[in-house]
Amino acid sequence: MFDEKALETIKAGKEKWSNDVVGKTLAKNPERKEVFTTISGTPVERLYTPLDVAGLDYGKDLGYPGLYPFTRGVQPTMYRGRFWTMRQYAGFGSAKESNARYRYLLSQGQTGLSVAFDLPTQAGYDSDHPLSMGEVGKVGVAIDSIEDMKVLFDQIPLDKVTTSMTINAPAGILLGMYLAIAEEQGVSFDKVGGTVQNDVLKEITVRGQYIYPPKATMRLTTDLIEYCLKNVPKWNTISISGYHIRESGSTAAQEMAFTIADGIAYVQACVERGLDVDSFGPRLSFFFNAFTNVLEEVAKFRAGRRVWAKIMKERFGAKNPRSMMLRFHVQTGGVTLTAQQPLNNVVRVGLQAYAAALGGCQSLHTNSYDEALCLPTQQAVTVALRTQQIVAEESGAADTIDPLAGCYYVEAMTEKIEAEIMDYLQKIDAMGGTLVAIEQGYIQKEIQNSAYRFQKEIESGERVYVGINKYTMEEPPPQGLLKVDMSVGEVEAGKLKKLRAERDEAKWKAALDKLRQASQTDENVMPSVIEAVKAKATVGEICDVWRDIFGQFRPKEYV
């Protein structure tokens, strides 16, 4: 962006400044540290100048919002049109309790729903399964059958709100229930909008809610994508997630790199299925983390947009610009929250939300300050929602597009992260692709090593964490934490018993038989899943049919 002569002058000036001015100051007052690094361990220089972005080509590398390579944003007007969707991940206890919280959040200005399911639902077990003991309704809402789903969305018009569902291996079942409810509400499939996470690869690497071996689970993922393409055109069929990769300890660049590697695997699977990349490409969405180092996070998002656009265009030959857009949801960093002095977390979340806004997210969840202690209380949830409303309405971050573009540091960091991502992608390709890299534990080990390095930095005091290794203080135990009623499990088990006694046995059996047949061939399973949920088959029963056919899976763990 600068001509050579100007760069020469800047170079000379910087050298002079370095030697004369800085040298003198350093002699009197040394800097706090010899090497400064971001939370990801990336070195940070004293000063960034045009010299650090000398290779940047504005038109090629940055361009304009809504245009390739989308570095500056995926929409032409970004938040000047409308803010990101404020979507708080919520759900606990029974469907009825969660429904009440959703309606409260919508009444407070939230614009989309995000359903947290309890672990039995995510792992494909009914509430009365022995492995569900103690877990029912704990970290999310317990959904066993279409009856629970009806209660969950009671009085919520499915043509007006969009719903994101954090569900992976059993994604098709929960989507099937959602579609069946929409149908009952008289909403046609083409008006239904939302997202299922449906990202099974990161379950194997970092999140742990896997059920089936990789090949089988990828087939179910692809079935869902293919079905929605033809029948539910506004549905985001997958939310390729880096969030949990980061939570597991990765660096910012690793988060983006491994998520994009997963994305490549899904696109590959769909292409191999015979789908046109421009048919499903626009419905792929992403999900990332935001930590407190605002500038590094912004660079990460910008680099990710640029890399994805190039991959879709150059590697997969996409023609539709929408296929090339990295559209993403952000959740602020759960692991960054401290149990110590929990109110400090409000500030952390504020900075992280600011990073997400400056980074051009499409939707955002802000964490509650008490999440290192328990499930969020209503008060904490409200503060969290207000935090992103303040970022949107007061900070000014939403008023101009990609405001940090041209900042020497952010542009240099964007290039650096992009280079790191490309380096990882090359290594993974050389190994034989994402699935092989996962199977060999490469991705897992890279993440573990970063987590380990970070922990050592904290324990040695090399990296300061407020309230953990500096500025600590004695505090009384926190009061008023949210407790989930342990009896949810019994209530749900009772409901299941009743459901099983009252449903039409013949219809139920026929539907499950049909599902089994479809699953054993290469027929798309989604139509028979929808029939099965309508016949009141439970999440656990449907998952069992697949367990029977595909087997259960336990990945190798890398420590």
Binding site: P213, K215, A216, V436, G441, G551, F553, K556, Y558
Partner: protein
């Protein structure tokens, strides 16, 4: 707490088994009287070795094979060996992850072991731990070795049937196999056989088996099988092959031969270990070792004559006395 460990073990106490194994690993002297008592109850189990490079899928294969064996009504003991860190002495033993569901099967006993500096893919106490499981009444005992690469030959001494697990695409082409590795296998298993390149690995192994007279021995041509352990494919065939090998060993008397050789080696090794331990302790505790080392270092003495002198003093071998006098 005093406990009659031998009786407890023979009566089926997993806790006594567990503690005896710890003593064996620690070389705790309390182990030996118990071993003496239970020894006569050993020799009934059939011992399988599972070996192969890291990432070959040994744990998953062990898990699925165990399920297959359990369906035949046989009980199984598993010894899963992982490496100790040479720097810290610690170890992460992760093989149980793939076998979680077997933990609660009363017909299965799993013990994880760290190598504790022992080379060759197993640990020093592995042979003894196998004997404990044998006396404990397990019908089949599976030893899953460390995935250390291509030189784990120690397993051959311990197992009646050794399975070498290969996978396509891990770079362990047959050509790169070190001499002596192919020969340890009684059965070749090409796992992850749904991957590209599986048929090529099978073809390469078959060719080697055909050519190599050390692999294809009298009465036995090692079969080359395909499995996809993670999807439970090919395990029944693997078990049939193991059974076939066992039948051949029994029919030809080779099982007896093999076990005779094993006992011979083990007995010698135990004597060696014990002698060495006693001599070393005596030399160390008396401070004599330090002096000797200093002398050697200063070239006042040489290690050869010291070796002859010490062994001569401890073991009155006429030959030694003759030569040194």
């Amino acid at each position: 707490m005093t406990m009659d460990y031998a009786r407890e073990i023979l009566q089926g106490s997993p806790r006594a088994v567990a503690r005896l194994m710890s003593w064996l690993e620690d070389e705790d002297e309390r182990a030996y009287p118990v071993m003496e008592e239970i020894y006569r109850h050993t020799g009934k189990a059939y011992i399988l070795g599972i070996t192969g490079s890291p990432g070959a899928g040994k744990s998953t294969l062990t898990d699925k094979l165990t399920r297959t064996i359990r369906r035949k009504g046989l009980s199984v003991g598993i010894v899963a060996v992982d490496p100790s860190s040479p720097f810290t002495g610690g170890a992460v033993l992760g093989d149980r992850v793939r076998m979680s569901e077997l933990s609660i099967d009363p017909g299965v006993y799993i013990r994880s072991m760290a190598t504790r500096g022992f080379l060759g893919g197993i640990s020093k106490a592995t042979a003894d731990v196998v004997k404990v499981l044998d006396a404990f009444g397990k019908d089949v005992i599976i030893i899953e070795t460390v995935g250390v690469g291509q030189d784990e030959v120690d397993i051959i001494g311990l197992a009646d049937t050794t399975c070498l697990i290969l996978v396509p695409g891990l770079g362990d082409g047959i050509q790169s196999m070190k001499a002596g590795v192919m020969e340890i296998a009684d059965i070749f298993v090409v796992n992850k056989a749904d991957r590209a390149g599986a048929d090529q690995v099978v073809a390469e192994v078959c060719a080697r088996v055909d050519q190599d007279s050390h692999i294809k021995v009298k009465d036995w041509t090692p079969p080359v099988l395909k499995t996809v352990a993670v999807e439970d494919q090919g395990l029944e065939e693997l078990w049939q092959a193991i059974d076939g090998h066992r039948a051949m060993l029994e029919k030809t008397g080779k099982l007896h031969e093999k076990r005779r050789e094993r006992i011979c080696n083990e007995t010698l090794r135990m004597i060696h270990n014990e002698l060495f331990r006693v001599v070393r302790e005596q030399l160390q505790d008396s401070g004599q070792l330090d002096n000797l080392v200093t002398d050697i270092l200063d070239h006042k003495r040489d290690p050869y004559s010291i070796m002859r002198e010490i062994t001569g003093k401890w073991i009155s071998l006429p030959q030694h006395q003759k030569e040194t006098s």
